[in-house]
Amino acid sequence: MISTEVAISKLRRDLTVGAMMKWIMIAGFALALVIGPFVGARSELLIGMALLGAGWMAWGFRSFRDTHRATQFPSLIATGQFDVAEDQIERLVRTFSPFKNVKLLGVHHLAMLRHAQSRWQDTAALCRALLRQRLGSMSGLNKTSRLILADALLEMNDLPGAYEAIERLYDQRLSLSEAMNLMAIQLDYESRIGAWDSMMQNLAYKVQLAEVMNTASSARTQALLALAAKKTGRKDWHEWLRRRVELLTDVQKLATQRPLLWEVWEAEKRSQEPEARSQ
């Protein structure tokens, strides 16, 4: 298993070496074009340039193949095939490539894997390392990495850090799945700071989005909304959302992950406690 420190240092080193190689090649080409006619070796220089260009293109093709292969990693992670994903991502991160996209994708997927493995510290460190880079054509990674970072920081109870990560997403255009993730993370954040009124804004829309999420996220989001409804005195919504969550998931498990949510099932919990004591 590749350590976070190694992955980050590989990323930095490869990006630096890749950028240097690119500039040396550009300078070499320019120099060959300028001095070629004067030194009388124009055809040799042209052949050299063509060979270098061909080599660079072949490397580019290999990197393109790696990038294409990397598109399978999220589904491996989503289906819980962590070992296979770990193996392939590690290979991608350790292999040198002068192309920025490959390296950034490798580290991004490693962050996704660590997030799925609930290794929050590693996730946050990898996302931060990625966000420090200029992403260029991979700017789409910015939003996903920020979402993962915000979630990891929330899990680590770093509320200011999570706020900072979320805040920067508001001036960006998000896809539906990113908007859903952001909503889930924001509700989690707001529940921790007790911003119940804010949670209840656009409630119907939030519930509609939650219905499209995967079961675990949907249940947690609706449970958080049920809590907000209870706190703001909307008993009808509290009851409705609570019943939905009960039909979607094991409440015991959900509230163990987020003890704050016990309040939604306060009456049930109280009735269970004497039973437990009597046993």
Partner: protein
């Protein structure tokens, strides 16, 4: 005699028109131009020393020109492929948001001309089958699904989901024999898979064919997997269970199942999906959603 008006989402036409087409003529023209260029330059080079220098210089410029043109061509191809991908992503979002008419228009747009890549065509056809199912055009949906199953090599999960959707469409269309064969095939292919989708299809088959006890048994056995895998679509299972309990005269359980189903999904939507559920709504009261928050 006038031609019949064009059908919206006409499956045979869309299947035909969406085939990606490569233009082999472009390569032929390029090869011919290259050969012509080589012969012309060889002729002029042999004519005189000045012409040879000129040809050399022109060749260098032509080489740079070709590299530049290739770069521009690659960029344009990539841009068009990206735009197609964006359209496909938009369809997916529209479907998730249940904006079916918009999704249908966009699917028609993509499939009514050759797609850039075979993968984009496959993706668009998958969306087309979902849209057709939504509009209860099950025969057309089955046709698209058959086309995909016969011609595309999917990963196991997608193949399973596609076969499930086809079996469901067959049941809706009362092709009970075909549906039963499709279900058996799915069971045989992966006997160890705990598929909530397959359980839902089997429950629907059992309710439809008057085997409520089997449906109840299946639901009880698969409930945790269904909760985990189906999310809000477990409402479908509760709706069908309402019917199954009603068929065996367990009215209390039927009432609870109808309530559970309608807590998770609007009664109208469930009745639209399953005609069997619509009749239950006259007998059992669905749950009512709270008034929208301010």
């Amino acid at each position: 005699m006038t031609d019949p008006p064009p059908t919206f989402l006409d499956v045979p036409t869309l299947l035909e028109q969406s085939q990606p087409r490569h233009n082999p003529n472009v390569l032929l023209y390029a090869a011919a131009a290259f050969v012509l260029l080589v012969f012309t330059s060889a002729y002029f080079s042999s004519a005189s020393g000045t012409a040879a220098t000129l040809v050399n210089d022109m060749s260098s410029i032509a080489m740079l020109g070709i590299v530049f043109a290739m770069g521009v061509a690659t960029w344009r191809v990539a841009r068009r492929a990206r735009s197609e991908q964006e359209q496909l992503a938009a369809i997916e979002e529209l479907m998730q948001l249940r904006r079916w008419p918009d999704a249908a228009v966009l699917v028609e747009q993509i499939l009514s001309k050759p797609t850039r890549t075979p993968q984009a065509r496959v993706q668009a056809l998958l969306y087309l089958s979902s849209v057709l199912t939504r509009y209860h055009r099950f025969e057309d949906a089955i046709r698209v699904q058959n086309e995909l199953i016969e011609h595309v090599n999917f990963d196991p999960n997608t193949a399973h989901a596609l076969r499930l959707a086809r079996a469901m469409a067959m049941l809706h269309e009362d092709h009970l024999f075909d549906a039963d064969r499709a279900i058996s095939e799915l069971r045989r292919q992966d006997p160890n898979r705990q598929s909530a989708g397959l359980a839902l299809v089997e429950i629907y088959r059992d309710v439809k064919t008057g085997h409520p006890h089997e449906a109840i048994e299946m639901f009880d056995a698969m409930k945790p997997a269904m909760q985990q895998q189906l999310g809000h679509r477990i409402a479908d299972a509760y709706a069908l269970m309402g019917k199954a309990y009603d068929l065996v005269g367990r009215e209390l359980e039927a009432r609870a199942a109808v309530e559970n189903a309608t807590v998770l999904a609007p009664a109208g939507e469930l009745a639209r999906r399953y005609s069997e559920f619509a009749s239950l709504l006259e007998k059992y009261k669905p749950a009512t959603a709270p008034a929208k928050a301010a």
